[in-house]
């Protein structure tokens, strides 16, 4: 059963399905996050197509899966890239919060989700993911305390670029993933 059709209480149950989907999401995110597309005209900003997995797994399989995918997947990606799993732990937590909030999306925009078309459900997922990105990455401002970074530096080199590219990534790839996944899930009874 996907989160799209879950009720409020079952969102928080942890069974074998939640564990396996969490592990799949984190492993995929950890692997694919290294594939980045530079944004022309910027220095440190790149689009990470894999980021879409965080809101997608959250929206499709629930907040626990989304949180685990973002948190552990980002830590693994950081570790694989040489940055270190805990060097920017607040960013991993931010990714986790994005997955968590996207997973709560079906509860709050259920009107669009219940019994509506694939297009509406895909749009709802993109909106939930975008809102989750804007809120979740506020944890980037913890860098002001942790690394004594300047507010303007965090805002202009970290928060805004990341939010903009991740909202775009979410808007493009989450609907594409759902568009393929939802019919498969319904056909196989998941």
């Amino acid at each position: 059963m996907t989160a799209v059709t879950m009720n409020r209480s079952s969102l928080w149950s942890i069974d074998s399905r939640v564990i396996v989907y969490s592990a799949i999401g984190a492993a995929l995110y950890g692997i694919l996050v290294s594939a980045q597309l530079p944004v022309p005209g910027t220095t440190a900003v790149s689009i990470r197509p894999a980021f879409a997995l965080v809101p997608f797994f959250g929206y499709a399989f629930g907040p626990i899966v989304g949180f685990f995918t973002g948190l552990v997947g980002n830590m693994i990606g950081d570790q694989i890239s040489g940055w270190g799993a805990l060097t920017s732990y607040n960013w991993s937590l931010a990714n986790g919060v994005v997955g968590l909030l996207a997973g709560l999306g079906p509860l709050y925009i259920g009107r669009w989700v219940a019994g509506s078309s694939f297009a509406n459900r895909a749009t709802a997922a993109a909106v939930a993911g975008a809102i989750a990105v804007v809120i979740g990455f506020l944890l980037a401002f913890y860098d002001m305390i942790k690394d004594q970074l300047d507010f303007n530096a965090v805002l202009t080199t970290e928060y805004l670029p990341v939010v903009i590219v991740d909202v775009i990534t979410t808007a493009v790839l989450v609907p594409a993933l759902l568009y393929v996944w939802l019919p498969t899930a319904e056909r196989t009874g998941r």
Binding site: S16, A23, A44, I76, G84, L86, T157
Partner: protein
């Protein structure tokens, strides 16, 4: 990039330690380091971090690219922060800095304080990265689950961590297969043009099949777990972890480092920027 978890530190002094020590040690170190702004103490932390790193005996040739990336990224972050902060150092009021001059073009003030601040930031990141490397390369990949379980993480989450590490090699292989298959069909994945959305959309034929294949294959794992009654009772692990005497001593040392750094941050100037006297003009 090699995605498969590699046990590069196999047989080293650090690899023989209880893996919980590597996790707890890193956590203690990171939280100690973020409280230190005195560059003299930061150099001590850097020395500790590289001693720790060296004890993992990770062949440099295997991680050279990772170090290049890390140093380049840290340098960029520190320089960008210095430029955008316009020479402001959060702990030092603007009228107390010792100004050297201004950067050409951007006009950012350069002072003794801003240089020391940037150097301390750089060293801190490098120290944390050096401490973090052994976590990836000096722990038996098969011991991740039990490590987190014995650290008090609920066993379902510990199992998910274990499963994540086990999935990585097979998903990485699937990812490469998908890329090859799409290239054979004539798909060009390299970014073309300046439109980031168009470039992103070009990734859909690779990302979507990889993800959906992984998810549809999950049922086998779920069935296997359900058939073994996963989640119905307390779980045991194949690996048994035990702290030996050396582990306990090192653990106490890391705990002392964290406690010492916390107390020092409140009672001494360790949390304040220290500028070497020779850098102060006049």
């Amino acid at each position: 990039m090699n995605f498969v978890p590699r046990y590069l530190g196999r047989g080293s002094w650090l690899a023989r330690r209880d893996p919980r020590l590597l996790v707890v040690g890193l956590v203690c170190f990171v939280f100690a380091a973020i409280q230190v702004w005195d560059i003299r103490l930061m150099l001590v932390l850097v020395a500790i971090a590289f001693a720790w790193y060296r004890s993992a005996r990770i062949p440099f040739g295997e991680v050279r690219r990772l170090w290049v990336f890390a140093i380049a990224f840290v340098s960029l972050l520190v320089v960008m922060n210095g430029v955008i902060a316009s020479g402001r150092v959060q702990q030092v009021p603007g009228d107390l800095v010792h100004l050297y001059g201004y950067l050409p073009v951007v006009g950012t003030p350069v002072s003794a304080e801003s240089i020391v601040f940037a150097a301390t930031q750089f060293l801190r990141f490098i120290a944390m990265i050096a401490m973090g490397f052994p976590l990836a390369f000096a722990i038996d990949p098969g011991a991740f689950g039990v490590t987190f379980a014995r650290l008090g993480v609920p066993y379902r989450f510990a199992f998910a961590v274990d499963l994540t590490w086990r999935f990585i090699p097979s998903f990485a292989a699937d990812f490469r297969t998908t890329i090859d298959a799409q290239r054979v069909r004539g798909l060009d994945l390299s970014p073309t043009g300046r439109n980031p959305i168009a470039n992103l959309a070009r990734q859909v034929p690779v990302v979507v099949p990889t993800v959906v294949n992984a998810i549809t294959g999950a049922e086998d794992t779920i069935d296997a777990m359900d058939l073994r009654a996963f989640g119905t009772g307390k779980r045991t692990w194949l690996h048994e972890l035990r702290f030996d005497r050396t582990d306990r001593i090192v653990l106490v040392a890391f705990a002392a480092l964290l406690i010492g750094a916390t107390i020092a941050a409140w009672t001494t100037s360790s949390a304040l920027l220290w500028v070497p006297p020779f850098m102060i003009p006049g």
